[in-house]
Symmetry: C2
Subunit: 141 residues, 2 copies
């Protein structure tokens, strides 16, 4: 469903949201080791997210990545679209550019309801809210 880049991005953002206390930051290297993800590849992804304003970073000693108050209002849909592009949540399952409710592909009815359901949840829940649930239910990252 999602690319590896996207999976890494989601996990990294959720780490920042759940494991970092106020004002704390983490470097790409530490984060890559913690999540067991190739570090320089993760760094690239984090830099993309940072450039687009979805996460924050500071250079230099003691610097690293973190989420500002504003960043915590971002949704996972925004993260996903930033990394994988809009097609992954909106494109036709069979890849038809013309597919729509009015002109459905053979799988449209089946696929639309379910993916739209997932998309709705990913679009209406902020990273902050998701982080609260992860901490409450002690879910692993």
């Amino acid at each position: 469903m999602f690319s590896k880049s996207c999976k890494y991005a989601i996990r990294a953002v959720l780490y920042l949201a759940t494991r970092l206390s106020e004002g704390e930051k983490i470097g790409a290297k530490s984060l890559g080791e913690l999540l067991k993800v190739p570090t320089p590849f993760l760094a690239k992804i984090l830099q993309d997210l940072s450039r687009k304003g979805l996460i924050s970073s500071t250079k230099g000693p003691g610097g690293g990545f973190f989420l500002s108050e504003e960043n915590q209002n971002v949704t996972l849909e925004q993260i996903i679209e930033c990394v994988d592009g809009p097609e992954v949540m909106h494109g036709c399952v069979l890849g038809f550019s013309t597919c729509s409710s009015a002109n459905p592909c053979p799988l449209h009815v089946q696929a639309f309801a379910y993916r739209e359901g997932l998309r709705y949840q990913l679009a209406h829940q902020t990273v902050r809210e998701l982080a609260l649930r992860i901490n409450r239910e002690k879910i692993k990252l």
Copy 2:
């Protein structure tokens, strides 16, 4: 969601199911042109499906690919698993090998219901049934 190979496979099988009359066959070349899909690549995919017994074929003049009565009882889930492997319908959205209802990843609750619903439909509808609906509702391939 699905690889290109898989999308091509689904479209090709649905073509065989809906557009071929009793005893009729179609070559990989014609099919590739009709579906506007790279012909030799499609041929590979069809050969895989044929080797696994999900579609039928005959060599030589007048030969080509077609669906036997038995093939029409195949489900799209079988086609999909044959091409993309089981992970695409069963693996964790975030790629955790340990993810399950008992030990959920952060997206498990959201993603599971969605994908399981789709999978259920793909697993409980045969190519024959789907083909009937496509013809009835005049859906394009």
